[in-house]
Amino acid sequence: MQLIDCPWCGPREEVEFHYGGQAHVEYPAAPAELDDEQWARYVFFRDNPKGPFAERWSHAAGCRRWFNAVRDTHTYRFLAVYPVGGARPQIPGTRS
């Protein structure tokens, strides 16, 4: 039972959180201008790296706020948490 450091509530047990997939996948400004492949890349394609990965998390059973985190998908360690829209922390090897 890992602890996840909610930026608003502090460390809480992982069961309180929902995973939201890869972070920094912005909704396209003008979807209509994208061709089918570009749109499909946005909708269906996500990275799946081994190592540090920028992800979306929601403190679903707590403050219900979304935040971003860099987590190592190999060790499960959270290396950083930061607000939605915030700059991605500089962590060597981070993908996405």
Binding site: Q2, L3, Y27, A30, A32, A40, V84
Partner: protein, 942 residues
């Protein structure tokens, strides 16, 4: 009786009666079932699981691979080790043949969980752990100390001395110091059984002992348990630092016929003597490769046994040997035990001792009633391994011990491979370590996994009847990994999880493969360290507390009126309201007919409801619905559909505009939470600049659709100031009114195609308003209906249930709802996906109606749809599947069964006949449009 005066810590002033295999025995408080049986001379207990060989007690605690019992009284419990069952009065047990029997009666005892947070958790209250806890507590840490035994002190014996006094005195002093510290939680009888991420440890407390005020020792108090007392408690401990001081477990050496009752670990015999005052044999052979067994040999001889010690080493530990000789022990150097004889009951009666000679080994038979074995020590490093700590082979120990440190976890004492008392004290207290008597230097242990002999009778895992021959077969079959050998042979998979057999199995496998044991490694330890009952894991979360049950304000009325309930998520919803003698189908047909011909009422309070507020609420809803919501006028209602980015329907419902900056939207009952999550996700992460807030108000409102041609009369009778005429109260509008001063909101929404009014009221007044509606409707024959009738009525109108008629691959267009997709809006969630080529494929599955042409078969939901080839027969397998039935009902209105289905290109095939396999036959069905009742919509205004 083999109880020896002057030994042991049991309370001999009191006697406990217990029954095993039908015989009544006595023991004392402080005994385990095993010690009491051994004190009564009982050595055979049950048999082995596959070979049926007699089994006996082979250990003194959780390491025992045998000695299994089924508890019968006071409450049935399967497969416990007699060595770990604390004796209590009235205990009834039976020896087991490897398999237990679950209770067939409910367990009335209470189990619970408790959370603890600490700076330092120490596991094990032996010398190392006690001192680690004391050191941390003196430093000011908040400390939790757990130990699985009834008392602290670990494997200390009365002769041990610490800090210039008897070790037990010293232990009592440390325990007292910890007890005085309010920041220390010290729990005995508490097994840390699992270690997880970030210092999370689960520990099981056995809250056994004396039933309060009864003077009677008991484990399972059952119905007699005081309300404030649980039998077992799982402690969920979150620790900044975990110190594992769990000790070590002695390891046997494998020889032929080593599974007989009377073959025991040397440390166990020593423990039975010192802890329980039980001498486990009179004629004892001790077979060892290590120094520790000399202590057991000397102690047993001192208590009156005739002891012969057989050491496989040629160089004996000089001082230990002198002590043994002084105690009367006969020593044999360089000899091994290679077999045993048993008596008629299977008990050991002789050891075969082999001594190397110039012309080959010479074997002699030594009579004995107890054969002790000691092959060295295996550190109990399970909690280190649980958090992915790597165990490395230590050739000096002949065992695996903790390797590179794991952050937040320390392993000290015997668990770390430190076997001398002074070393354990130092690892617990560092420079503050108390003194202990000097110990003679250890003579290096000989690593010996097995002796010569017939491998098919050399038992590696006594609990599994698995022998060296089984490992030979595994290696012969090409298995090279200890993990594979474990699974092939089942060694280490029994109740004891290989506490005494795991290392040996690794060693023998390595030997057979001709590789060093260190290269091969050992199997990974996984929680739980010892078996934990499901009752303890469940704790209080059982019965009514297992999962929350949600009921509406009208629930008591439903119960009183005989509703048959169905679970919708956590909600209890009436499925139908049968009258006396009515079967479910008849009830639903009657309810449907009432809604279409007279008036009927449903409790729709479970509908998800989200209050959307803020100046940008309209813009936000335009983003998440496929149709335009910002243009909705105050006082009006609009149906809406939500899609994901992939353009597939995720939910639907109605939207009421309450004010310029306020909307109330409804979701499906099951979708309430996920829709709110979806909306929050978009609100927070994509359109954070919009001023809008979302609040779930599902529970706040009671909602009652009043449905049918006579519904207007019922509404008018209850809400006298409301003009419910079609002109004054238009379809898809809402208005507020009051009933005896209570605000009520009425809406002209219909999920049945009939004239209908939705009555919304603060849930606290729900039951009262419902009863008013029922009373007012009585002259019109108002009929309460449940979810099944709701489903039939909506299906007759072709209204899909999202999640039943859709499955995440269905677009609004597939449902025939192009009209709900805005062409005006520049963008909304899902819009771009509608332009993907796949979405214009004419062979996409469409929602259609199906009418079985025999007018009698109700198709099963989920049934596949197939069609004949041109020759009137099915195509050869695999027969192409055209789609499936999503909803299927009997219809009172149509007087025949009907169905909804998703069918490839279905809208272009209206009138075709296809087939549905059902009960071995192919049922012909005609494809229709999805709207089967009142397709022109003539009924909605009554």
């Amino acid at each position: 009786m083999t109880r020896i005066d002057g030994y042991g810590r049991v309370d001999r002033t009191r006697t406990l009666d217990f029954v095993v295999d039908g015989t009544t025995y006595t023991g004392h408080p402080g005994d385990t079932l095993a010690s009491a049986l051994l004190a009564n001379g009982v050595t055979v207990l049950g048999g082995s699981v596959t070979l049926g060989r007699p089994r006996g007690i082979g250990g003194a605690w959780v390491e025992d691979p045998a000695g299994l019992v089924q508890i019968e009284e006071p409450f049935p419990e399967p497969m416990l080790q007699a060595a770990t069952v604390e004796l209590y009065d009235g205990l009834v047990a039976r020896g087991l043949n490897g398999q237990g029997r679950l209770a067939t009666v409910p367990d009335t005892a209470r189990y619970d969980h408790r959370h603890a947070h600490c700076d330092t958790l120490v596991v094990g209250a032996g010398p190392a752990g006690l001192l680690a806890a004391r050191t941390a507590a003196r430093r000011g840490d908040r400390v939790v100390l757990v130990d699985d035994r009834p008392e602290a002190g670990g494997s200390l014996v009365p002769a041990d001395r610490i800090d210039g006094r008897a070790a037990h005195r010293f232990v009592a002093d440390v325990v007292a110091e910890l007890a005085e510290n309010p920041e220390v939680l010290h729990l005995q009888r508490t097994t840390a059984f699992g270690h997880y991420d970030d210092g999370f440890v689960l520990a099981l407390e056995r809250r056994t002992g004396e039933a309060r005020g009864t003077g009677v020792g008991a484990d399972h108090l059952g119905a007699a348990a005081p309300a404030d007392r649980s039998r077992r408690r799982v402690h969920r401990i979150r620790a900044g630092r975990v110190v594992v001081a769990a000790g070590a477990i002695e390891r046997p050496v494998v020889f032929a016929d080593n599974d007989r009752p009377g073959v025991m670990l040397a440390s166990a015999a020593r423990e039975y003597l010192h802890r329980y005052g039980v001498l486990t044999g009179r004629e004892v052979v001790v077979f060892t490769t290590d120094d520790a067994a000399y202590l057991a040999a000397a102690d047993l001889a001192g208590a009156g046994a005739r002891v012969t010690l057989v050491d496989a080493r040629t160089a004996l530990p000089a001082e230990r040997a002198r002590e043994c000789t002084a105690a009367g022990v006969t020593l044999r150097a360089g000899a091994t035990v290679v077999g045993s004889d048993g008596d008629a009951a299977g008990r050991v009666r002789a050891a075969h001792v082999a001594t190397p000679g110039a012309d080959g080994p010479r074997t002699e038979v030594l009579a004995c009633d107890l054969l002790l074995v000691s092959g060295g020590w295996t550190p109990t490093a399970h909690l280190f391994s649980h958090v992915r700590g790597r165990l490395v082979y230590d050739a000096g120990l002949g065992a695996f011990r903790p390797g590179a440190a794991v952050e937040g976890t320390e392993v000290i004492g015997a668990a770390n491979g430190t076997l001398d008392l002074a070393g354990c004290l130092y690892e617990g207290a560092g420079g503050d370590a108390p003194s202990s008597a000097p110990e003679p230097a250890r003579t290096p242990a000989l690593v010996l996994w097995r002796t010569a002999g017939d491998s098919s009778r050399q038992f590696v895992d006594i609990a599994r009847d698995a022998t060296v021959a089984d490992i030979e077969r595994a290696v012969g079959a090409g298995l090279r990994s200890v993990e594979h050998v474990k699974r092939y042979t089942t060694i280490g998979t029994a109740h004891d999880q290989g506490k005494t057999s795991g290392t040996i199995a690794s060693g023998i496998t390595a030997e057979l493969l001709g590789r060093p044991a260190g290269d091969l490694g050992t199997t990974t330890f996984r929680p739980p360290y010892t078996p934990v009952s499901f009752a303890a894991l469940a704790g209080r979360e059982r019965g009514d507390l297992f999962d929350p049950v949600r009921t509406t304000a009208v629930h008591p009325w439903h119960v009183a009126h005989g509703a048959v309930f169905t679970d919708v998520g956590q909600w209890k919803r009436p499925r139908h309201f049968p009258r006396a003698g009515e079967d479910p189908d008849a009830a639903v047909l009657r309810e449907c007919a009432a809604a279409r011909r007279d008036v009927a009422i449903m409790d729709g309070s479970t509908l998800g409801k989200i209050d959307v507020q803020g100046p940008d609420a309209g813009e936000f809803l335009d983003l998440v619905y496929t149709n335009l919501m910002s243009s909705l006028k105050i006082g009006r209602v609009r149906y809406g559909v939500m899609c994901g980015n992939d353009g597939m329907v995720t939910d639907d419902g109605t939207v009421l505009r309450i004010a310029e900056d306020r909307f109330l939207l409804t979701t499906t009952t099951g979708g309430a939470a996920s829709v709110l999550d979806h909306l929050e996700d978009w609100r927070q992460t994509e359109v954070g600049h919009l001023k809008v807030n979302l609040t779930s108000v599902t529970e706040h409102w009671a909602v009652f659709p009043v449905v049918g041609p006579r519904s207007r009369e019922v509404i008018s009778a209850v809400f006298r100031d409301v003009d419910a005429s079609a002109e004054a109260f238009e379809f898809m509008t809402w208005r507020d009114t009051e009933l005896d001063g209570v605000p009520v909101r009425l809406a002209r929404i219909s999920f049945s195609g009939e004239l209908a009014f939705e009555v919304n009221v603060d849930a606290r007044y729900g039951l009262a308003v419902w009863e008013r509606l029922i009373a007012a409707g009585r002259p019109y024959g108002i009929t309460p209906y449940g979810t099944e009738t709701m489903h039939v009525l909506r299906a007759e109108k072709g209204y899909p249930i999202i999640g039943q008629d859709t499955d995440g691959t269905v677009s609004p267009h597939d449902l025939g709802m192009s009209w709900v997709v805005s062409k005006k809006k520049a963008d909304f969630v899902g819009k771009r996906s509608f332009a993907r080529p796949l979405n214009s494929d004419p062979l996409r599955k469409h929602l259609v109606g199906l009418l079985p042409t025999d007018r009698s078969t109700r198709l099963p939901e989920g049934a596949q749809i197939v069609e004949f080839a041109a020759d009137g027969t099915l195509p050869p397998p695999p027969v192409p599947m055209l789609g499936h039935v999503t909803s299927s009902y009997l219809s009172a209105e149509l007087a025949r069964p009907f169905a909804l289905a998703l069918l490839k290109g279905g809208r272009d095939r209206i009138g075709d006949v296809v087939h549905v396999p059902h009960q071995g036959a192919l049922v012909p069905v005609e494809i229709t449009g999805p709207v089967l009742v009142d397709p022109e919509g003539a009924r909605r205004d009554g």
